[in-house]
Subunit: 897 residues, 2 copies
């Protein structure tokens, strides 16, 4: 016979913590506590299988269920020495849902089942408190009427409000026992009117009503939608927990409270929590009475003057503290628990893993390793890499007041505050004058880089998580709110508008890049504090990860920041960013305007020493570590002026007419620049550009090698390749240039030439491409754009709905679409290795800093991931977790990776 | 011992026609003719293996070669009764290259080897013509000096010119024997001066010099480049043909000529060709003397007054006509042959398959089937589908004079002539007034459709083979020259400029869409004449093809045209084209401007009856044949006005401010519209649009079914799908709408719902998508754009170079990139079938009309191809050829495909 009902806390306990699938999370932990000998009010759990059966059998219960419930209830009656429905001394029960994981939308709780006009008298007598009894009774009728019988909550509230009005009282506590009696009568009349049936007085009817309500709530639309979005199978079902009621509001020897086994904000190892004497659970959170600290240390931390439980109930506190130690030792995790003291007796109502801040997590796991509770590997697995992100940036003071005027995407974490400016030039000028500046643009382009550098934070009204603003801001580690669609920028008037509000140039706003909030005025921020725990845990992680972690960086600042965060090389140096410097852009534009190769070469000759200097400096900073340099990637029109003023300026300096500039702009215009004349296509049509870059790389490397005395190994990376022939042609030129430079300088150095894999065709033809490539670096930004046929700059308008409706689990530009785009990565890895078994494989798209994508990279066996400097610690941690889970922890990282 | 030398035409013949790989095309056919007993001047072929050996062994010949050449030469000497280098009666030889296939860049011919100061006297004596002998000698020294010894050709010409000046003569024919003696002396002095060596007098030295020159020319850069581009392996090598000289210029009983076994222009079965008495081969083509027709019928056709060979040399003509019949019977193909008559004896110097016009091909293969020379299957294989294209459109009168002012891409074939207009509205107005109009635009957009419809031809200055203009023009079967970059359109001045020329509105130009030429003024055109041969051959093809052929069409005109050309259904009805009608665009725009769903539904309600009418009409025309309707695909901004005037107009009608229109335009602007908010993404975010379309489809289908009494099977196609969930959501709505309409109308009909596979992710996840799709239609235009990361509208600027440099074999937008994008198609077919074995698979991209892509479609087993109406015959033929080659010819075509 199938066992449908699992008892706990009474005569016997059938369940265990590892039975969450069968009896739900709450039920499993209640059973576990009972097994540990902790005081849990006796009860039983109806399994999730009953729920599945219920829906598979036209909403019928298995026939054995009634008997098993009866037996479990009788066992409780025996244990408690009370009877359910006994008018003298009634046993009262609660009913709660309990799925495998906590799930919104479902029925939560019905308390005080078993009360009716008769048993309430027994409760009044045994408790010696008639008001308490009738208060409990009216709470029950209201709760049951609402969640089980579907009578509107506010209809009950109206009755209560009328009663208070008529009796001239304003607070519930002033309602008398007789008052509650009257209210109960009216409540029941309401139920009769609304449902056409009298309120059920029979305790067993009440119990089955409660059980049925939980099961039915499994299929309410909100729960169904939630499961759909989170891909929770409908046949998991929910369990139902039926448990003896205990009361913290039975006088001065009763109390109720919640506690964490450590401080969830700081992680400090002391007993953290709040309690109230003579109160119910809901009173602790309702805010009518001020909860008191559990411990003296907690009282001190809170700056409270109210006495701690340690002082008011020393005996009970000792028991509770004992429970705390037992729970931590048992679960080896910070616990969040609920307890009630009924007339001097402690009961535990719930325990679960405690939610805590990132800083607390670091402190806790570090402490727990020292305490011997967990080992280093477990510690590494315990830290959520996404949470780590918050530690690496300034954040808003959580206690500050905020006037939120708009919300965009949380494009780059951290908080920033400054005066708004609407052009990069103005932002730069004001920042130069010492002002804190927020750069506000409809969207940003590479021309805005200097303004972004100068700004404290960036706000755009358009663009997604991988728009130019978002990507560059993350790279710089600057807070960015992107795509705040409610804001419209008016460059002419130098204002931005949101609703009726107009924010003028120079006014102050605050951005929270971690939430996407835009706030009027200054909101105080707190600077990040990286604790010793952080370094310790990162060291444990580094010991375990297999993959190397590099950074995407091109400026000396970024490169140094990357080293500080533990980067082991540069995986992507975007050379185009070096061209936007005002001192150089003119030469770049001259090249674009040249009518022939000779003219282009002349302009490029001006760029050569600058570019060589860039590389020499980068090689020097990264001294001895590998540096991957990507040759020019964006379409040429990105370097041209677009605004009238800029066009006039440029024409004047270049000695051409604005007409000519506009014509060239027209010629270079592209319908879909993402799919246009860029990347190695420029190298094929204008070979002199890549030649100049190759020359600068090799000359710069020789210079740096001489200066530092360390081996410099440049990795030259060709972008946007789709075929072997393309790569071969360009590689041949790079090699020829290397040989030319080596001959001239009378020295040589090691170098390699590889390619981005960022176009589906390249992934599919990776076997051929690998014949010419010494390494592949997956450019998953573009691979996502082409693989999904979605422009990252345009997708924001529908991507939200796509994620909401569950078409994509996550934004595929933030977290790799493993099912689709991931296949291309896998195919390329497999085919690349078929041709060249030891080909070096890395990733340099935005996904290189995303934990779930990093797990994927470990799975397919990449050599390294490369990400924004500010995400390097996250990547280090995620790579370690991935290696531990994949069983590759501690495998030697290849030197060259 | 390896046989390096193959003799022919003398004592024995070693080679055969099927030995082209070993002895080259020319050598193989010479041997074949000798084997047939035809009079071929004796000679021998040095094999391609010698060439390979030569390059594999540091430019040394195999050691046995010299002896084998000597033996072959001696055999010729015996046969001819002459000796090579005999001063009395010298045997003279020619040396020619001969690779497997004809290849530019290589050395062609050296004639008259064996002449020197001694042997020339013998030639003078035996020929009885001293001038002939010294003329031959000087030709030899010049040719050998140029191609073997590398002395500049024009240096020889200068000597000859000086001689003529000094002697006061202007024509070569007036140079005397003594004159040639003097010229030869100076030629030899030139060679001595340039090469530092005397001109080789020894005949064997001359012979080996000639042979070596052929082998060396295999590796000259032009030949290497040509092979690279055409992917001809370098180790194929070339053969060398050494052949006895014969002379057509030995007096009135000698002659030379070229002939085709049938008329290569019309295909008529008569002996077509030209000859000249007492002349050399080069004289026939040099244009100094007018060649005469071979036959009387040819003379009549040419309107010539000169006597035919049939009359002047009846005996020889009889022999030649006999050869003609033998060759056709033997090769079963029209032959192009060269002959020489030396003193009354006929010699054949070459035969090969004759090049002919498309019309001639049809006539010839049809005749040959009737003559029993070939069977129907061979006939089908003989017609080049690409050539067929020329037959389906008007073409320029080949005899007309042309003033070509620019050249663009041959984007849609056929010729058209008309007055230029620069806006669609103006073009429509003028066409309405009865004018022939050419629409000239920088590029076209869907807003120009009515102007394109009204125009005779379309000219754009920007865009590639699959730009909007090109695709739409091909669909309409209208001539189009696209991307004529030299032309700049000036809409304001209403002129176009090319160089210094200014063409004003209303002036006449002519377009040749088959060559891309743009001509000033009117050039007369000829209308296509589809012969009975065409219908006959198409019937033979239809019997053999396995795949169905459908058309991409949405207008009644196109649908009727498609039926006329034999389409078996519509594979792609692009519903957006139906929205651009001026009567509807307003409602479309109202929908776009609506602020909520209710507003959108109100606007859509106006479109519903129109759209229903469209579909009803289409179903009626296609009566009983399958029609695939693609739901709305382009981004909404395509429907909005863009030019100032249009914006003002629209704002006025819609009762909004131009400011509002511009703001909405700004909101809808996309950086990469190709990768933006379009296709089913619109269906997900605005479900009401697809709902209206589904309603129109089902209501229209029921209407048409009632009217025609034939079963209508609509196929509803969802574009741009990337995941199963996406498709499922939209399919559920289509089904719901079908059921609603059926319930309302009290009737039902069969229908299916499928998807485009046009994004790499869709191809990779085809197994999942097939769970929801009843058919896949490969949208290879977008699949190419995303698979290669190339925008078809932007690729023109680099794609030319990509094809030229051999990175792509062909323009991947015209002919499917089988190696890359083809993999995605294969993967999708395979995975789709894994889920649903009988899933219907088709293609509706531009490639559906491209023969090489159609072969690919046959290989992967698609059910049908769909293409522009005007390409339907091409597709029918190509599908038949593919089936024959794949061995699937005549396999039952599925009824529903």
């Amino acid at each position: 016979m199938t066992k449908w009902v699992y008892s706990f806390g009474g005569e016997k306990t059938d369940g265990r913590a590892d039975m969450k699938n069968l009896i739900g999370g709450k039920g499993a932990n209640l059973a576990e506590m009972a097994n540990m000998g902790l005081p849990v009010p006796p009860g039983f759990t109806i399994t999730t299988e009953v729920c599945t059966y219920f829906y598979a059998n036209d909403r019928q219960y298995p026939k054995e269920l009634e008997q098993q419930v009866n037996e479990a209830l009788q066992s409780i009656e025996r244990f408690q020495g009370k009877k359910f429905g006994d008018p003298k001394d009634p046993l009262l029960m609660s009913v709660r849902s309990g799925a495998r994981i906590s799930m919104p939308g479902m029925m939560d709780t019905v308390l005080n089942l078993g009360l009716n006009d008769e048993t309430v008298k027994g409760l009044a007598e045994t408790s010696g408190d008639e008001r308490f009894a009738y208060d409990s009774y009216r709470r029950f009728v209201q709760m049951y009427g609402d969640v089980v019988l579907g009578v509107e909550h506010h209809d009950f509230e109206e009755i209560l409000d009328a009663h208070k009005r008529e009796n001239g009282i304003s607070l519930d506590v002033d309602v008398t026992a007789d008052g509650w009696k009257e209210v109960v009568k009216q409540y029941k009349a309401l139920v009769q009117k609304e449902t056409g049936e009298p309120f059920p007085d029979d305790p067993m009817t009440q119990l089955w009503g409660g059980i049925g309500a939980v099961f039915k709530s499994w299929m309410v639309p909100r729960a169904v939608t939630y499961r759909k979005i989170h891909e929770i199978p409908g046949d998991w079902g929910t369990a139902v927990n039926v448990q003896t009621m205990v009361y913290g509001n039975m006088g001065e020897t009763s109390a109720t409270g919640v506690a964490f086994t450590r401080d969830p904000s700081t992680g400090e190892n002391y007993f953290y929590g709040e309690y109230l004497i003579n109160a119910q659970g809901e009173d602790v959170v309702a805010g009518i009475r001020t909860p008191q600290a559990l411990t003296e240390i907690g009282k001190e931390r809170d700056g409270s003057t109210l006495p701690s439980m340690e002082v008011t109930m020393p005996e009970i506190f000792k028991q509770l503290d004992d429970v705390r130690h037992k729970l931590e030792k048992h679960f080896r995790e910070i616990q969040d628990l609920e307890f009630t003291v009924e007339r001097g007796k402690l009961y535990l109502l719930q325990t679960r893993t405690g939610k805590r801040t990132a800083a607390a997590t670091l402190k806790i796991v570090s402490d727990m390793v020292k305490e011997g509770l967990i080992n280093e590997e477990e510690a590494v697995l315990r830290v959520d890499p996404a949470q780590l992100d918050h530690l690496l940036h300034p954040r808003l003071d959580p206690n500050a007041k905020k006037d939120v005027i708009a919300k965009g995407l949380n494009a780059s974490p951290g908080a920033a505050c400054g005066a708004v400016y609407f052009s990069a030039d103005e932002a730069e000028a004001q920042a130069g004058a010492g002002k804190a500046v927020i750069l506000c643009r409809t969207e940003t382009s590479p021309e805005d880089i200097h303004g972004m550098h100068a700004a404290k934070g960036i706000l755009t009204s358009r663009g997604g998580m991988t728009s130019h603003a978002a990507v560059v801001a993350r790279g710089m580690g600057k807070p960015c709110v992107a795509g705040a669609g409610a804001i419209s920028m008016d460059y002419k008037q130098k204002v931005m508008r949101v609703g009726d509000k107009v924010i003028k140039e120079g006014e102050t706003i605050t951005l929270d890049g971690s939430t996407g909030e835009v706030m009027l005025g200054e909101v105080p921020t707190l600077n990040p504090e990286l604790s010793g725990d952080f370094a310790e845990i990162m060291a444990w992680a580094d010991k375990r990860r297999r993959m190397r972690v590099r950074a995407n960086a091109e400026t000396p600042t970024d490169a140094r920041q990357a080293l500080e965060f533990g980067a082991e090389g540069i995986g992507l140096c975007r050379t185009e960013h070096m061209f936007f410097d005002p001192a150089r852009i003119q030469a770049v534009r001259e090249m674009i305007f040249a009518s022939d190769e000779a003219g282009r070469r002349k302009a490029l000759a001006k760029l050569l020493p600058e570019q060589r200097g860039d590389f020499a400096q980068l090689f020097e900073i990264m001294s001895g570590l590998p540096v991957t340099i990507r040759l020019l990637d964006p379409p040429l029109h990105e370097f041209l002026p677009h605004e009238d003023k800029d066009i006039e300026n440029f024409a004047k300096i270049a000695g051409v007419t604005t007409e000519q500039v506009r014509r060239r702009l027209g010629e270079l215009h592209e319908f879909n620049p993402m799919l246009g004349h860029r990347g190695c296509r420029l190298g094929i049509t204008y070979p002199e550009i890549y030649e100049m870059q190759a020359q600068a790389i090799f000359e710069g490397a020789i210079e740096a090698q001489k200066k530092t005395g360390k081996t410099v190994v440049p990795e030259v990376m060709i972008p946007l390749v789709v075929s072997k022939k393309e790569l071969k042609m360009l590689k041949d030129r790079v090699i020829a240039m290397a040989e030319k430079v080596f001959a001239e300088k009378g020295t040589t150095l090691e170098y390699s030439v590889g390619t981005m894999i960022e176009i589906p065709r390249a992934a599919l033809c990776a076997d051929q491409i690998a014949e010419e490539a010494e390494f592949f670096s997956f450019g998953t930004n573009d691979l996502t754009q082409t693989g999904l046929g979605m422009s990252r700059d345009d997708a924001a308008v529908f991507l939200g709905e796509y994620v909401e409706k569950g078409i994509f689990e996550k934004d595929p530009f933030s977290s790799l679409d493993q099912e689709g785009v991931g296949q291309l990565v896998e195919i390329a890895c497999e085919r690349g290795r078929k041709t060249k078994a030891d080909i070096k494989l890395g990733i340099c798209g935005e996904h290189g800093g995303d934990p779930s994508s990093i797990h994927f990279c470990e799975k397919v066996g990449l050599s390294y991931v490369s990400c924004s400097p500010f995400r390097v610690p996250i990547a280090r941690l995620a790579a370690a977790q991935a290696a531990i889970k994949a069983g590759t922890a501690g495998q030697a990282k290849k030197k060259a990776a």
